[in-house]
Structures are given as structure tokens and as C-alpha cells.
Symmetry: D2
């Protein structure tokens, strides 16, 4: 089990440090409904909104239903963060649920869930009447720690922007919304960029949608057993499957072994999911759907439901489609079909992995080209790097409270030139360093971190 460093008895001292770290998020600007690839689906009752703070990056995804719906929940991971799941469990029969909210930011991101309830109230859709209260439920992923150089989290402003931007029929796939900074496969050192996935299937009048934010300790696995996303260990055979990764344990954790190894810092996960059907369901049937679909995800994510995941799945029945007799499609069938749709959703969550810039070995930069780049660059109150030029070579070292990816506090690392302003630190996980006017950009692109020159 985990150990924790904590403040201990000297509370007063702890509190004194305070405000030093405080970050004011009120100036950040939500980016609403950004998207690359999207899932389109025909279902007016299911409205989706996403919003992101690019400065994190981190984000939130809001599912707002067109009326009160029936909800159920299945929590399986060792470290979940949730809001209002007890209400779903204690079992009223009536539809009560308004919205499901997923966010980054770990437990801090739960603010997104409560924000949607108050937005429903402020916008006059719900109020304080016993019969007309807003019910939002939610869950979060861990997208902090060493995967970025700040601790911005999805807050009330961001969640309400996503809620108010919600629209039917469009769901951004990949690193958007709550999946903005998701990763997968850390257990085997994959550390692949991940995201949110969705899939939809309609059979006659029956509709089933599955959505998931894959931030899993395990590796995303294709239907043929192959690994969907991974920064692979260079020693691995090409054909290595997810099952073989598991079978390779525990040798894989011994130093010197040619197989996979787990990074100490990879234990930071949680996959959060939602399955929706328009079929009328009883609470028992909906709970069964939640259990079955959640269990089935162990196929698409291997391993699943570990101690370092906080896996949560919500199931929703909008109740639009009455049961008809004789049933062509039973509730048992729906469970199996929905599990298949969820596997599609898992696979749809994986973006193309960025490729690192390759140093140009023939390129020799001179001191007067390098020296202007030297200086200290600040990413946040706890992360900064110091860049120095020496003997026609450029070096960087973390000088804040934490490491900055491969730029560590322990010793300077050489930045190898790709061009006059772009450099790289080779390794399993790509690190590109680009200098621009007054700032440095680490890994330019969708997952970039920007440091401002001091």
C-alpha cells in the first residue's frame, strides 16, 4: 500500500506556508468544444459539452440529458473520486439524474461536478424544490504529477462553460475534455498519450452510446490482442501482445531484463466511463448493465481495476424506448452489445502518438547562437529550468521544486540541436525543446508546456 508524506502534527507550520502556492485560475479562458476527430450520433436527449484550459492542459466533459434520467454506478478501482454515487445506489425508482460530469484534476476536479448542478439552478432548469433539484454525478482522472509542470485543475468556470456549450450528437475523440491529458499503459512503461473515446450503435429504435476517458495503468488493447498505444521499450519484439506483457511478469520488473518495466511515477490513473441506452430499464436491469459493461472493459484495457486505478462507470437509461413484447433484444443482449460498443469507445480514445524531433548530428551551433537562449524559464510556482550554453553546447537543468520531464534537478542534460531554435533530449519518451521569443516550449503541439523567461 501507499505511504504518504504529510504535514504531521505541526499544522500551524503547514498552514503558514500557504498562499505562496496559491494559483488564481480566474484569468484562464475556457476553450469550449474543441475537436479533431469526432463521433457523431443521432440522439437529441444526450448533449455533450467539453471545455479545456490549454494552460494545463486539463479539461472537463459534461453529459447533460434532456430530462431526468435513471442512473446507476459501478465503482471498481482502488482510488476513485466521485460525487453523489450514494444517491444512485440507495435506490429510488424514479429518474432523478440530470448530468454526468467527467474531469481532470484528480480530487480537485470534482468541483466540475458540483458546478454543473449550480449551473442548472442558475440557468433556471432546476431549482431548490424537493422535486426539482439538480442532480449531477461525476468522477475524475489523475492528470497531475510529473505529466505536466503546473497544477491547474478543472474548476467551476470551466465546467459551467462546458455545460453551457453542450450540444447533441457530437463527441470529440482523443485529447479533449476530461481526456485532455490522459495517459495509458504506465504499468508497462508505455506512457502513451490517451484521451476520451466514444461509440454509438443503433439497432432499430434501440440506441446505445458508450463514452470513456481512458487514463489507465493498463495498456489499451485491440480486439486481436495487440497493443493499441505505447511508447514501446526498444528491446520489445514487434509482435508483443498485451497478454504477453502480463505473462512476462515479474521478470519484467527486474533491472536488466529486456522486457517491459514499470516507471515508479506511472502509478497515477483512473478510467471513467458512461454507457447510455434509450431502453426503459428497471434499477436492477440498469445496475446489471453497469456491472457487465464495466467488467467487460478488462478486455480493452489490460490490466484493469488495479489498486492504482479509480475506475468508475455510470449507466443511464433515458427511458425513451418502451419495452415491447416479444423482445427482439433482451436486457442480456443489451449488456453484451453495450460491452462491444464500449470496446469501440476505448479504441477511439487513443490519439496518434507524437513523434519526437530528431537531433541533426551534422548541425553544429555556435556560442553566439546558443547564448541568447540561455536563461531561466518559469513554468509554474514549482517548476522552472535553467538553460546554459557552454563550449558550443546547450544544457538544461531543472531548478524549481520538481523535475521537468527529462530535464531533472539532479544534473544538467544536454539539449541536442534539431535546428537553430529546436532541440531534443533523446530517450524512450520524446522531449522536444523549442525556443521562441521570451519563452521555451517543451514538446510543442497538443501536449506542450510553456515556460516564460524570467
Amino acid at each position: 500500500m501507499r505511504l504518504r508524506i504529510f504535514c504531521g502534527l505541526s499544522t500551524v507550520l503547514c498552514c503558514a506556508v500557504a498562499t505562496a502556492w496559491a494559483s488564481d485560475q480566474s484569468t484562464l479562458k475556457p476553450v469550449v468544444n474543441a475537436a479533431g476527430k469526432t463521433l457523431s450520433f443521432d440522439w437529441p436527449m444526450v448533449r455533450v459539452g467539453t471545455a479545456e484550459y490549454e494552460e494545463g492542459p486539463t479539461g472537463v466533459t459534461v453529459f447533460h440529458f434532456g430530462r431526468k434520467v435513471l442512473g446507476a454506478v459501478d465503482v471498481r478501482g482502488g482510488g476513485p473520486g466521485t460525487v453523489n454515487t450514494d444517491f444512485l445506489r440507495l435506490g429510488y425508482d424514479a429518474p432523478e439524474l440530470d448530468a454526468v460530469v467527467f474531469a481532470g484534476g484528480s480530487w480537485y476536479g470534482l468541483e466540475a461536478t458540483t458546478a454543473v448542478a449550480s449551473a442548472l439552478k442558475d440557468d433556471g432548469i432546476r431549482d431548490g424544490g424537493w422535486m426539482t433539484l439538480a442532480l449531477s454525478v461525476g468522477a475524475i482522472i489523475y492528470d497531475l504529477g510529473d505529466r505536466r509542470l503546473n497544477e491547474i485543475y478543472p474548476d467551476k468556470q470551466l465546467a459551467q462553460a462546458a455545460f453551457r456549450g453542450a450540444q447533441p450528437g457530437v463527441f470529440p475523440l482523443g485529447p479533449y475534455g476530461a481526456g485532455r491529458l490522459a495517459k495509458s499503459g504506465g504499468y508497462f512503461g508505455c506512457n502513451a498519450h490517451s484521451g476520451q473515446g466514444g461509440a454509438f450503435r443503433q439497432i432499430g429504435d434501440l440506441k446505445i452510446a458508450a463514452f470513456t476517458v481512458v487514463n489507465a495503468l493498463g495498456v489499451v488493447t485491440n480486439r486481436d490482442g495487440s497493443i493499441a498505444s505505447c511508447y514501446r521499450d526498444p528491446t520489445w519484439p514487434k509482435s508483443l501482445s498485451a497478454a504477453e506483457l502480463s505473462a512476462g511478469l515479474p521478470d519484467s520488473r527486474k533491472p536488466g531484463w529486456k522486457g517491459p518495466s514499470m516507471q515508479a511515477d506511472a502509478k497515477r490513473n483512473t478510467t471513467i466511463s458512461l454507457v447510455v441506452t434509450n431502453q426503459v430499464m428497471t434499477p436492477a436491469e440498469l445496475q446489471r448493465l453497469a456491472v457487465q459493461v464495466h467488467t467487460s472493459m478488462a478486455r480493452g484495457i489490460q490490466p484493469f481495476a488495479t489498486e492504482f486505478d479509480g475506475d468508475v462507470l455510470y449507466a443511464v437509461s433515458t427511458g425513451e424506448l418502451p419495452k415491447s413484447e416479444p423482445l427482439q433484444i433482451t436486457s442480456a443482449d443489451i449488456g453484451i452489445i453495450a460491452s462491444d460498443v464500449m470496446w469501440d469507445a476505448i479504441l477511439a480514445s487513443q490519439p496518434e502518438q507524437p513523434v519526437a524531433a530528431q537531433p541533426d548530428k551534422r548541425l553544429k551551433l555556435k556560442g553566439d547562437q546558443l547564448e541568447p537562449l540561455a536563461g531561466t524559464y518559469i513554468f509554474s510556482e514549482f517548476a522552472k529550468i535553467s538553460v546554459t550554453a557552454r563550449e558550443n553546447r546547450l544544457f538544461a537543468q531543472a531548478t524549481g521544486a520538481r523535475d521537468a520531464f527529462a530535464i531533472r534537478r539532479a544534473a544538467p542534460v544536454e539539449l541536442l540541436p534539431v535546428s537553430a531554435t529546436e532541440f531534443a533530449v533523446p530517450g524512450r519518451y520524446p522531449l522536444t525543446v523549442k525556443f521562441e521569443e521570451g519563452k521555451v516550449v517543451l514538446n510543442p503541439g497538443r501536449w506542450q508546456q510553456i515556460g516564460k523567461r524570467e
Copy 2:
């Protein structure tokens, strides 16, 4: 089971109404650590802060522990509102919990719980590291509906004020903090003002504290079985006990019966509680403590854990006191003692019930005294009353979207003079109406509602 009125399929229409109801709470001023009677206790590790918006009134109570503590939860009511209980259930062995947060505002008030996590981060006590995340858990009571004329709820600002005001050893008793607008006994029509209660016992080095916000459908019951707080039905015998109220069912719900009756609008409750010990406990022992103490509350609140309560109890072990052998006091003893301390806490939650102003039958006011009082008074976007003077008598009628206590929309009610500026509407539940410069105050005092002249 409950039926609910909801927006239905015309989502677009629903959303269009929006902003009309929006209330900006940013101008409200938190009142921190207000208190009348208080519980004092010697326990540096247990810090308590309260904050209230008097304009509601509604409030929040924050328990902040001096280090990571072990937590457990028992949820028993039919309609709970909770944050992060799943984490407590899925059972890490290590202490992880930082704070327990109770608030009014029903599900909207859950914002208070997430606000304490972000305050812990902003103040530098916790951060985004996997080992140093802030964990706050919480629950809410329903203090909206017809018990006040606005829907202000405990928000981030209020909760962070309470958190930052937290201090060891002092706990305000009665209508403070999360108990600011609690009520009890609605099932039998008591509708007594209630509040938050606390009690503490130290036996050698062993410390046990119990805290509870009593907002119960049931009646608070003394150890001798008598009713602690109630606006009693005038036909009840003086000696009527809580047990007799139950035994009187179901005749008590028939019209014309001389026993207790339940108001249709009384179904709005939840009792939320916390028991803390400094004894080292295993997760299993702490869970047992939670179950046993929560169950025992059925003695002090009758009935308890109904469909219309959302009862939640958290149990915390600060782990300061190691187990010693041979144990003088076993974990079984602690459960029983803590249950007794909790009964003390329940009883300590009950404030003195305000007595209504009595109309002075000999007092005859004239038209020119009454006419200046006439006018429309606005309480909130949905509550206003119209006061009219006619034939030397004063009348009031609700003209907003909802009734204002005994001043209803259906027909004008006469305001009987107590003095030249104070009036009363007689009845089981006291209503005093006081006119001041440019405003009217309903039930002046701790639970007053202020309407501003249009």
C-alpha cells in the same frame, strides 16, 4: 416513491429560460465562527470552522484534521448527497483524509466539499502529487424549499472562509454552520428549528467527539423518551412521547384526528454526522464504529433513516493513541460510549424555539398608520408579498411564484397588530411580520427573512 416535475423533452425551451433566475452570490459576506452556546474540547488535531450567509440563512461546517487521518462512512438515508465516499469504501489502509465538510443547500451545497480540497491546495498544505493530494469528503442537508424565501447555497467562497477560520476546540451549538437552517420533526408536523450539535468525552487518554447536523424527518428524543423540540399540535396531550407518536400511526394522518399529522411539505431532510476518536483503529474497526454509532442514533431521532432522510455518518480515527494491552477500553466499548456521546450531540443541536409575537386584541390601528406599510416587498426572484390596508386592517398575500410561509398566494391573510409596526399571523407555526424602513422582516431574529420594498 416520489414523482418529479421536469423539463421533459423540450430541452431547448428549458435552457432558453435560463439566466432569469441566476443569482450572483459573489457579493454575499461570509460570517465566520459565529456562535451562541459552544462546545469546548481539548483536541488540537480537530479544527472546526463555520461560515454562514445570513441572507439565506445557510451555512457550512468544516472539520479539518491536523494530519492525514483514517476515515470510514455509513450511508443509510434514502436521499443522500455525498462526495468521495467511494474512496473511503474501497479501502486503502493508509490514512488519507484531510477534512469533512457539512453544508446546507442540498446537492448545490456539495460545492463546499470540493472547495475545501482546493483551499488545501491553494494554501500549500496539499498539492497535486499522488502522495500529497487533498482529500475532503462531505455531505449536505436540505434547507431549501418552503423554509425560506430564497435559494442561496453554501458555495466555494463560504466554504473556504470556514476552512480558513477553522480553530481547535470550539464548536458552535444550534443554528450555526451547516445547521444554520436545519429543522426537525416534520413527519409529525413539529417543524422545530434545529441545528448542529456536538459532544466530547475524554477517558484517560482516549478522546471521542461526536458532531451532527440534525435536519431530521423524525423528532429529537430525550433519553427518557420525551420529545425534545416541537411546535406541538395544540390537541396533543402534554406528556406525549416520541414512541407514542409512532404508535399513533396511521390514524395520525387522517383528517380530523386529534393526534399528530404530517405536513405534505415536511419531507425535506437529512442528518449528517461525524464521530472522531484518537484511538488507532484498523479500517474494519472504524467501519464498525461508523455502523454502530449511526444505528444508535435511532434512539435520539425517531423515526430515523427514512426514505426522506439522506442520513450519512463519517467516522474518523486520528490515530494519536496507540492500542495498549491489556485494553481497559475495547473497540466494542468505544462503539457504545461513542453512541452515548452522539446522543448528547443530538440533544445539544436543539436551540430554544422562538415564540411568536402575540397580537394585542385591544390595539386598534388606523388607516393612516397602516397605509404607509402597504406595498410590495421582494425577497427573491420567486418570492414577494403584497401588503394592503383596508378598513383599518392590514392584509398580506404572496404575489411571487411561491407562498411565503402562512402568507399564501391563494388568498390574502390578515396581519394582526402586536404593535404599530409589528404584526402576527396566528397558527401552529409562529409568523411575525415586522415593518422597518423600506423593508419587511418575517420572524425577526435568528431565522428571519427580509423583503425589500419594491
Copy 3:
């Protein structure tokens, strides 16, 4: 928490001991539907059968419903013994339950539950078809240990006898069926004989029945807070209430204190209960009923749901009475009324406590009267006593593997004459010793133990 003595690694050795203790129960004769006071109720759908082995004594109570019914369960105690509760939880909506079975014998007595399923099959009421399987659920109480001198448990033969003897409308009150050797109040040293209780209420067409086997660590408590059953400590004030017993902690456990003390051997309990209504209920409503009624039992049994109880409550809806609109009696009302009926059932479980025979101080028996009584008396494979006559006085000492009530292994205790054949050992807990032809009877009467002369 408990420590346990176990066989440890030397399994072989453990197993070798074997057969020495084996007890053949096949020659025991079930006593079916014995009764003193009974509860009568008009409800053909609810059939009750009891059976007992007087040689224990121990017994079983079977509730067999006239058709498949809906069931729910609430488990709250620290050490329960149950069968098939998971099926009730996982929540099909359809009625599936045939029978609820309560028994003595601790975990060994769970054989009674499975026996009723096979009896339903053998009797052709159910079979092996997926749709027509027999479903019995059950729970047990601990009635072994030092409260009797043998380990006979309710087995298949006994349970099937009770099942086949089941009849509608009659429920034996007190030490019958599963409550045959129940006790209550051990935590405070009461060690009162207890039993099974039942109560019934009909309101219009609505029927509610409550049944409970009270084998509680806590004391049974009247509605006015007084103690219903207890071998009281002679130093206690007459008026001592259950609440005062709790409030007296922990001084009550210090040696020399004049208040209650807990016997080391009193930690052996479990209260198992059943509430039945004919009202149609959804699974959620029935679960709420189970939770609410079980919680309410903390009033009639104080303390309740401790670590040393294994408290279980089943709730059943026979579904005979459809819901009608407008409801005169809501599901919330039913919960409160049923809780009140359950309190009646708890109180009805308590038999009159036997009074010990009083030694006649003037009676002097001579050696030739006493010597014929001397000898060794065997109760079971592990319990025997040796009676010796010396200097015109009679002594007894346990010579088996365990103590025999106040006749202990440590030293002989004098048996004071009540008559020529009846003797007593004075103390808080009465022990009467009666010699008959070839045997000795301890505590002659309903709870007697018989030792045969070697």
C-alpha cells in the same frame, strides 16, 4: 478485535484428533411447533414452523411463503452468518423467495437454511428448472459456548421437520424455534434468557408482521427506557435504565465499581429479524423498509449492531395488496409503522426469567443422604462434573474439558441443599442442581441440562 486460537501449521495433528468429538444427531427427535404464549395473526400467505432438539436445547424457525415473494436484506452486525443474501442484493425485480430460515447453532446452523430448499424440492413444490428453483435465505444465532454443555446444532432433519410443520397464523413467543436458547444483555452482565418475538398489525387491507430472534449483546429496552430483562447486579439502583447503563461506561468495567460489568464470556450474540408486508413494493422500497426497520431496532435493543452481534434483517413483500392512489398510507408510513411493530416483537421475545431455588439454611443433610448422589455425571464429550460428599456437605467440580456454569474446573464448589435431592449454587446467575435416578439436572425447567451418571 478478536484473537483466535487455531490449529496452526500442524494440520496433520489437528486432523488426527478427529472423530473423537463427532456427535451423531440422527437419533435426536425434533419437537415441532411447541409453544407457550403465541402470536396469532390472519395471513394465509405467511406460514411458520418451529422445531427444537430439547437435548441442546436449540432450534429452528421456518417462514414459508405461499408463493414466490420479493425479498431484501440488511446486514449490520460484525459477525453474521447468512445464506443467499447476495442474490437478494444483486437485484432482480421478480419475486423469487420461498422461505426465510432462522436457526441456532451459529454457522453450523446454516444447514437449516439449505435444508429447506431441498425439502421444497423433495416435496415437489420446487424443482431444478431455472424458473422453478427453491430459494431459501437464512441466518443464525450463537447459542453455543458456555450457555450449554453440548454442541448439538439445528440440522437438516430438524429444519425439514419445522418446514413440514409450518402453518399459517401462529407464532410461538419466547424460548422456541431459533430462539430456544437465546440470551440478551450480556454486555452489561444481564445474561437474561431471551427468545423469539413476533407482532402483527393490520390497517385496512394492509398487513405488517415483524419477527425477531433476540440474541443481543445489548439489553432489551421498554418504550419508557427501562430494562425489560436482566439478571441485575445486586448493587444496581432499582430504576436503572438502559440509557443509564450506557452512560455509566467505562467506569462500569473497572473492578470494584458498583455498576454493571461485562462478562468476558458474554460476547456471543446476533439478532435476526424478518419484516413482512402484503403491500406491493419495488425492490428499492423494500430495501428502504429493511434499512429503516433494522435501524429502528436500536431503540428496543441497546446497544445494537456491535462488533459481537451479527445482526441481519430480511424484508419481504408478498405483493398481495396493490398500490392504490391516492395512498392513505405511503411507503414512508409503512416504514415507521413496521418499526413500531418490530419494537412490539422485540418485547414479545422476552420470557419470564426463571428464579433460582433458594438453599434452606436450616436443612442439614447427612452423609448417607449425600453419598448416593456422589459420582461422575456426563453431559457431553467435553462436559462432565464430579460430585463428592464430604463432612455432610456436597461439592461439585467440573472434570471435563470445560466449566459447567458455576461448577468450574478450577476448584470444587459447595452445593447448598434446597431439599434432599435439590441443591443450589447462589450467585447473580441462578444454578439449581437436582438429582434424579441416574442423572443430574442443572436448572430444571425450560433451559435444563441433563448429565447422565457414568
Copy 4:
């Protein structure tokens, strides 16, 4: 959801039928520790015994630990049958568990679990002392219905024989013990014979064993995604994978579709499993192991945890191997490795599928050869077939209360000759009919059913 036929209100009528069906199992002879392929493992603490009634066939598997061990349970299926799981959940920290018992016979087979507790007592290993009670937990599979022609179930005699035959280090693989009549893949019409599987892995001193009785609605799936066992639909492509079967839904249920179809009578399942480690674990860690391994089984059985499964997994820590620091293998690793071992166990459960005898089209039998075979053959109180010879052809028709596989009540079916005494009914599911002296054997071999000539 399921519908059920039940006795309804006419209880008297139901009960009257009685004894007609009663089956006396006391003359059946347990076959103990029969085995074909076995798993061998070096672990003295884990003793395994199996016993079967060949007349069913049905059986039981007992795991008896050499000392009290810590247990946990995860129940996921829609229709489980369990004993004593609540005790495992309510969470004492101390090891209490003696044995895990798996059996056939659906809910009737739970008698096997209680039988092991009483055997532990009768054999003197445990007794009635609070600290030395026997704790057995268990679960069952459904092996009744149309898969055999009788309703013999694993009873006390059978379970105690298995318990007393338990030995360390040997586990029979395939159709033995509780897996004696297991099937798999019914959802897709596979109806493959299944069984019990086991696997063991030792890493340094760490031991992990996994055992499972695979009686799954889903198909057993190899690590490459292919189907491990199935009576395949003749129209399926050779390479059809489990994932493709799911993806084919719901067309697969339409008549005339060329893909898989689900038999109406295939809904009868439950997979029950046990994972054991010698590593010391806290209750929370062991619960995590249970959750994670159970979830992982969705890879090897597709679909898993459906409404028609009653899936249960027990996890046990024998506590022999203390935790050492620094851990080479963490509890997270153990979860992943154990999941892999469980996949091995699932695959090891599948026996070779029997191949049906093929009719010899050239073989022409004459009336005087066939007529001696004619007659009525009785399998049980509800199953018999009538064999008639007509025009040199042989026909069979079920004449009891139920069908006998492909020999149905609706109409006679022709038995095509394989030899003079062996016949076949062609079809997806093989049916071989062999006549012997005074009896008929359906499907001779491990899964045969014997009918005696009337």
C-alpha cells in the same frame, strides 16, 4: 428480466403434490478425487478434495486450508448462490476462514458448504467456542435443467466425503468436482462441456494459485482471441473469434441469420472462482485482489458477469509469507500476475469435447434386430423415453414430464444406426444412444445418462 412460474395462491394444492418427487440420495456413492489430467502444486497449506455422484453427474470441490486464513469475496453475477459472504465483507481483520466449497446443484448444492463446517466440527478440528468456530464459505453452479435427466444434487454426504478426502498439491482438471457437469458458451449456442480449471505460479517464495469452475454463459477465449470450446454452428467461418461473435449481435438472434444464435434454454450459468496467495495481505489489499482478478476474467470468458451468470470469486491469503521491504513484487503486481494465472486456470478447465457417433448410412438393421430394443426407459421421476421399432427403423420419443435432449415429447425422432446397438441423432449437439442389457445409455462416456428399462 426473468419471469417465473410459481405455485401462486393455491399453496395447499402445491404442497399436496409433495413426496411424489422426493428423491432419496442416501444410497448414492461418492466418487472421491477422481481425475484425468491434474494440476500439481507444492503448497501443503492448500488441500483440495473432490467428490462426485456419477448418477447425476454432479459434484463438489472443497478447499481446506491448514489454518485459519483471511478471506474476501467479490460477487458480480446476476444470480449468485452463496453462503457466509456477509461475514467476509463486514470485515474483521483476523483470519477466520477454514474452507471454500464449490458445488453443482444450484441453490440445493449450498448444502455442501454447510456440510464442511459441520465436518470440521465433527472431526474435532473446530468446535462451538466463539474463537474456534468453523467458517466455510461457498458458491454453486447451475448444472440442472435440460443438461441432464435427473435432479441429484451435491449433499452433505458428498461434501463431507470430499472434505475428508482433501489432499495437498493435486487438483483435477476438467469435468470433476463442482465442474462435473459444467458447460460454457450457451449464449452463442456453443453448449460446450466445461469443467474446473486450476493454475499455479511460484515466484521466489511467493505462491499464487487460481481455481475456477467455468459454467459460463460466455465462451471460453484463448489469449489470441480465438474460441477455446464450442459446438460451433456449421455456418460459422473457421476463424470466428469471441470478439467477432459479440460484434455480430444482434443479427445473430434473428431467425435465418447465418451467424450464432442463442438457445432459449442456455440461460443457466455461473462461474465460481478462488484465488489464493501466501503473501500476507491486509483486508483492503485482499479485497483489491478479488476485484481485480475477477474483473480480469472478462478476457478469458466473453461475455462475463451477465444477468444469467451468478459469478462469485473468493480471495484468500494464507499469510505464510511476510511482507519484506523493499518489495520486489508489490500487491499491484500480484493482482496482475494472479489475473494471468486465472486465465491459465480458465483455459485448463476445458475438456476435449466428445465427438458424436456417426450413423453408418449403409447399415440396414431389420425389425427383429430393432424390436428387442423397443420399450420404455426411465431416467428419473420426470424423464423417460419410449423407443419403438417401425418399418425397420427405430424411433424414440420422450414420454415423461420433460424432453430428453434431442428426444422430445413433441414427436418421435429417428435413431440412425451406428452399429447394431448404437444409434445417433444428428445435429449441432451430438446425441448417441446406446442400448445395453436392460438399459439405454445416452451419450456414453463422461457425461452419459442411463435409463433403466421399465
